[in-house]
Symmetry: C2
Subunit: 188 residues, 2 copies
């Protein structure tokens, strides 16, 4: 039995969900259609990730009929200290970068505050959160995949980086539809 | 043999080093005097922490004659995922707080940039780095103490918090001089 652990990006990220549909709702609906017919595949989402998706889609109740809701056992899993070590160092560098960005905007005394705030948020977000696991939901996804020996489906670079460090298989959201359709063909 | 793993704060933090001396150099010198006479005690510092101390004291070469320089084996230690999970969540909250601070300063368009930058740095640092392990040096200290089953000597709240989560003994820098002097009395 092949196990896939799904990230919200599968349904929310425009590029990842392209093959499923133009909106989060249509992506969930189309996924359900395919999932109904898929054989030999189990789909999983941690409850926290499903809750996150419910901010983008009204179809999560229906989705949860086809996706197993399961949290990882964070108390039974041990991770190499080296991975934590690299993470702490990465956070440190980002915190310094975040301060440099904040300083630039503090020194810009032009009165266009709305424009400034938008630019600040974008730059800060990019520096602090792009390419790193930045939420417990992302981390749960990786731990669950590790526990199940499953494949994470995501378009989030931070998740992919940490999953790789821990030896978890990842599949890009863009390729997911093709893969599960192939599964169906093979089995029927 | 009692093992102490020393943080830079023992010599650098004014409150912690109070019993050793008024400057980092005099704190190191006085520690060496006591360490020479101490029996049944080993002192350790990871090389990275000793390098950090060399920014504050010119006496680290001499100190390294009395302190064992040893890095933890970060590749052989495993830590509970729950600890990493809490850390990621803490970082997330701090990153959000850092952005709120940056926004405040971006909206303050008064021309006193130097005053603003000082205040920004202080607030940001407090939000991002106080009470959390924020460097690989701090983390090495904890891992080494864990490996040696030693006691961390530190005044850093972030180190104490993570050390407690991992079951490592901590001793406040302020109490260290008294403890090692007692050791001497007991043994001689």
């Amino acid at each position: 039995m092949k196990k896939f652990v799904l990230d919200t990006s599968v349904f929310v990220n425009p590029k990842a969900r392209e093959s499923f549909g133009g909106s989060a709702d249509s992506a969930v609906e189309n996924f359900i259609k395919i999932a109904k017919k898929a054989k030999g595949i189990e789909f999983y989402m941690p409850p926290s990730v499903l809750a996150e998706l419910s901010h983008f889609s009204t179809k999560t109740e229906e989705l949860s009929l086809y996706v197993k809701k399961r949290a990882p056992n964070i108390y039974a899993t041990y991770l190499p200290a080296a991975v934590f070590y690299a993470f702490i160092d990465d956070v440190r560098r980002r915190v310094n970068k975040g301060l440099r960005i904040a300083e630039q905007f503090a020194m810009d005394n032009r009165p266009d505050n709305d424009v400034k705030l938008r630019a600040l948020r974008e730059k800060y977000r990019e520096a602090m959160r792009a390419g790193i696991v930045d939420s417990k939901e992302d981390f749960e996804l990786i731990l669950l995949a590790k526990e199940l020996d499953g494949t994470i489906v995501t378009s989030d670079e931070g998740i992919v980086a940490l999953a790789n460090a821990l030896g978890c298989e990842c599949l890009e959201g863009e390729k997911f539809e093709k893969i599960i359709k192939t599964k169906k063909r093979k089995k029927t």
